[in-house]
Amino acid sequence: MTDKSNNTTHFGYKTVESDQKVDMVASVFHSVAAKYDVMNDLMSMGIHRLWKRFTIDCSGVRPGHKVLDLAGGTGDLTAKFSRIVGDTGSVTLADINDSMLKVGRAKLRDRGIVGNVTYVQANAEELPFPDNHFDLITIAFGLRNVTDKDKALASMFRVLKPGGRLLVLEFSKPDSEALNKVYDFYSFNILPKMGELIADDGESYQYLAESIRMHPNQETLKGMMETVGFESVEYHNLTGGIVALHRGYKF
């Protein structure tokens, strides 16, 4: 996405300076953090819970594992991983945004999730963890917000243990033209309206809709994962390709 020659990158459909994008993305999530969960349910009509459930089923996670939930936001995946890996395992919830981490931490604490979860403010492009550290990394609805996706994927590859796997859950390209049209209408006309009504923040959701469109499609993302070293990369289209789950291994 990034055009190296003049250091601009896409912020939704607006083209902005690269180092500005990090700030702009951060402000989007600051402004939606509090109502994020409610919006998630409404926007996806609750289906995001099923997408996440499928992700967990594909994770191969078990007791004792070390898991990184990257761009983990309010911690839906973290909560479940925390219960599965148990006392001998650990989950790291990492997010670039402090407000999201706070909402996540409060929510998980309320649900009695303590002990094996740590919270780290970190940029996916420069993960502050040792090499070969995690058994599993998940990034759900986070990669499309990252400025330099190749750099982020390489960073994930570095901190993953040999034998470990990466799961990327992200909006993608619907596999039928008809669905694509409906989905476009939903994203650009209804979604920002809902954002305005519920979170009083139409602009942020306009950004979300645009960032979904700018995100690489299934095959492109697969290629990007392979380029940084992931092997046996495959993807699953969910809900007609509105969302795709990519999985890759480090051997």
Partner: protein
């Protein structure tokens, strides 16, 4: 979307909702912490894994080893609530069990405590599974697709209601309802616009 996600989501929500309301069961589940029980229900395409912690998580796929494994028919599920029936069930060929039997019998006590009508709850999904299988055979059939979508939508709606009920407090819900009402208004307007547009297209 794999149909199992609806099954596991439904069962998990149901179990934990009942657990929350039952102090006895919560104590009992503590003794199963860290254990994994695999249940193969003959009528379902995938096994169910019950993972015990402060609550119960239900997965359709799990790479680790289960502590105990049971194979059973849907029609015998309700008898699992009585662990003294295990031997009889095994003799009748209705149940197969391997691994740590304590996990199974403790789970059975919890189920009894919660008093769930399994057949009723699962029959909702087995219909779906049958539909799903048929769909795979007749993918191109338009009518089929629509029918299946309707069932799926119905189930998802029901499932969301259950999950949402778990989360927010009364005030939030009231507020949420207001917002939904507003949204509904918007949707109506949208529908009208859509009808208008499609009429234009027809001309």
């Amino acid at each position: 979307m794999p149909i199992e996600m609806l099954v596991t989501a439904g069962i998990e929500t149901l179990l934990n909702q009942l657990l929350k309301a039952d102090a006895n069961a919560v104590d009992k589940i503590a003794s199963l912490k860290g254990k994994v029980l695999k249940v193969n229900i003959a009528e379902l395409p995938k096994p169910l894994y019950f993972i015990f912690s402060s609550q119960i998580d239900v997965l359709a796929k799990y790479d680790g080893d289960a502590d105990c494994c049971m194979d059973i028919k849907l029609s015998s599920l309700s008898r699992l609530q009585d662990s003294s029936q295990f031997t009889a069930l095994i003799k009748e060929g209705e149940l197969d069990m391997s691994g740590d039997p304590m996990v199974a019998s403790k789970f059975s006590i919890i189920l009894k405590e919660l008093d769930i009508d399994w057949e009723e709850h699962l029959s909702r999904y087995t219909g779906d599974v049958a539909a799903h299988k048929l769909l795979q055979g007749a993918k191109s059939s338009q009518a089929w697709l629509q029918n299946n979508m309707m069932i799926a939508r119905h189930n998802i709606a029901e499932y969301i209601i259950e999950e949402i009920r778990l989360a927010p407090g009364a005030l939030e819900i009231a507020n949420f309802c207001d917002e939904v009402a507003e949204l509904e208004q918007q949707c109506k307007q949208f529908e009208m616009r859509l009808a208008l547009l499609s009429r234009k297209e027809d001309v």
